[in-house]
């Protein structure tokens, strides 16, 4: 009887555990989610998850540029964070890859930055997730971050890049212009993504578009604009030399680009790539402000070429040397070469001399709400 009374008095202690808990700690979940997004680059790192074709290629979302630069977010990752290819089973797929845990949390993630021109806060991408509950009953964390935007390279050509500089110009021999004029742009990835530079300041062709603009092409043309050069009206001519004037041709103002090819690690064979057809998911090639050119354009260039190669199109790793070779050849093989550009001066895309423009890091905020 005594025993029964004592046991009966302990029964309420059983029920304490069953009373509904005051709250799941949403703030802690939000903090963890915020930390994963801002400090982790996601998984897999290489090949990067943002280049995966479906959500199955993503094990974990993360927006940081790399593990060595927490708090610096990559615009490439932010923009692919909500791409259609990942939204098949939204929000479950997202929940499994950012928030983790079995409880069906609802979330709201917003990324914003300060726009110095309009002096206002703007969203980088539309917010991800459900609308915030109006009563404020959600866990929240705000992280301050910096954004790393895409870099691009600009090559200014000038007269010193003409072959045979110093006034003696290369003349085309009469039997035809079998000798094409080549010009190579070299990207040495081991320099560009060298570990001696913080990844926040890298131009990484493996994850961001290779955006190269070649300017001032007219400076390399085989003409003499300047009378002191006496270029194309050279006198006397050797037996096998043609001259613009003698052949009654006018000095050229364009040169014909025959093809653009990619070479890896100085391999003499070009990389396999669909050079002859347009593929706007892989590259864009613009000649003199006319777009939709293929990489075997057979077009005349007078001033500017712009090539954008999207990440994932070429097989690159951290020690690749990528050469992009532009070949100029005229249709009429008996004409002198229109451009004197030459591979004596292969152009290196490096950080020196500001060939690669790396935009400044921009302040921003990442906010996570979980409920």
């Amino acid at each position: 009887m005594l025993g029964l009374i004592m046991v009966a008095s302990m029964v309420p202690g059983l029920l304490i555990g069953l009373r509904r808990t005051t709250a799941i700690d949403y703030d802690a979940v939000a903090y963890r989610t915020g930390a994963i997004l801002t400090e982790d680059p996601g998984w897999p790192v290489f090949p990067p998850w943002e280049l995966a074709n479906t959500i199955d290629g993503v094990d974990r979302f993360g927006l940081a540029v790399s593990k060595d630069s927490p708090g610096i977010l990559s615009i490439a990752k932010i923009e692919t964070f909500t791409e259609k290819k990942f939204l098949i089973d939204y929000p479950n797929d997202y929940r499994e890859r950012i928030i983790f845990g079995d409880y069906p949390y609802r979330f709201h993630i917003s990324i914003s930055r300060f726009n110095t021109t309009s002096n206002a806060i703007e969203s980088v991408i539309p917010p991800v997730g459900d609308t915030l509950p109006a009563d404020g009953s959600y866990g929240y964390i705000r992280r301050v971050v910096k954004f790393k935007n895409y870099s691009y390279a600009t090559l200014e050509l000038n007269e010193s890049m003409k072959a045979s500089f110093n006034g003696t110009y290369l003349y085309q021999i009469n039997s035809g212009s079998e000798t094409p004029q080549n010009f190579t742009v070299r990207l040495n990835l081991s320099e560009l993504v060298s570990k001696s530079i913080n990844p926040a300041y890298h131009f990484d062709p493996r994850v961001e578009p290779i955006n190269i603009t070649i300017n001032n092409f007219s400076a390399t043309l085989n003409n003499s604009g300047n009378s002191s050069w006496s270029g194309w009206n050279k006198n006397p001519l050797a037996a096998n030399e043609t001259q613009w004037l003698a052949a009654n041709l006018s000095a050229p103002d364009v040169a014909r680009l025959e093809k653009v090819r990619f070479y890896k690690n100085e391999n003499p064979a070009a990389l396999p790539f669909d050079y002859d057809n347009l593929d706007s998911t892989k590259y864009e090639f613009i000649i003199d402000n006319n777009d939709n050119k293929t990489l075997s354009p057979l077009e005349n260039v007078s001033d500017e070429m712009r090539l954008i190669i999207y990440p994932g199109s070429l097989p690159l790793d951290e020690s690749t040397i990528l050469d992009i070779k532009f070949t100029f050849r005229e249709e009429n093989l008996t004409e002198p070469a229109h451009t004197l550009i030459s591979d004596r001066y292969p152009f290196k895309v490096t950080y020196q001399d500001d060939v690669v423009y790396r935009p400044p890091l921009v302040d921003g905020w990442l906010e996570v709400a979980v409920w």
Partner: protein, 180 residues
């Protein structure tokens, strides 16, 4: 007269069994867990995270070619414009929205060490940088700190900063943050 002792044994056995049951039941039921509401420290942690993030972001160079980060520039010029510039920039970062500013306020001090080991606070009589609302002592403040590098050519530092040995130094920037 009952000469047998079995009945007494039965009773003792019975009492012992009861005590055993009660003890077991007590041990089993005493193991329930009690849930308590979330600690207030989580609110402090959000504040601390914002403060640490803001200092870290200000200490990140904007371009790789920059010589100093913004925070290092402010501290190099601590006797002139560094304080007010630090205040403006810090407020901009922790507020996020200038139209609808968050109610986070702060106060910053710099601590440096002299060669004889004395720790000096700069400035001595007022905060290095502060928000419009001043610290009254009643608020629950969190403290975030960051070590900032000062090179030996820093132009605007107190007179005793480089006394005796003119080398690069590291100072401690301490910021108190609270919600108003």
């Amino acid at each position: 007269m009952v000469d047998r002792t079995e009945a007494q044994f039965y009773t003792m056995e019975g009492i012992a069994a009861a005590v055993l049951m009660v003890l077991t039941a007590y041990l089993v039921l005493g193991g329930t867990t009690i849930y308590t509401p979330g600690d207030t420290h989580i609110i402090d942690m959000q504040l601390e995270q914002v403060g640490n993030d803001a200092l870290k972001i200000m200490d990140t160079k904007i371009n790789e070619s920059d010589t100093f980060s913004e925070l290092e520039l402010y501290v190099r010029n601590m006797t002139t414009s560094g304080g007010s510039e630090l205040g403006t920039e810090f407020k901009k970062i922790i507020d996020k929205s200038s139209a609808n500013p968050d109610n986070i306020y702060f106060e910053a001090y710099i601590y440096y060490v002299l060669t004889n080991g004395t720790i000096k606070k700069y400035p001595t009589d007022h905060p290095f940088a502060e928000s419009t609302q001043k610290f009254s002592g009643n608020e629950n403040a969190v403290r975030v700190t960051r070590w900032v590098f000062v090179d030996n050519n820093a132009p605007n530092v107190p007179t005793d900063f480089f006394a005796a040995i003119h080398t690069n130094k590291t100072v401690l920037l301490e910021v108190l943050l609270w919600r108003g």
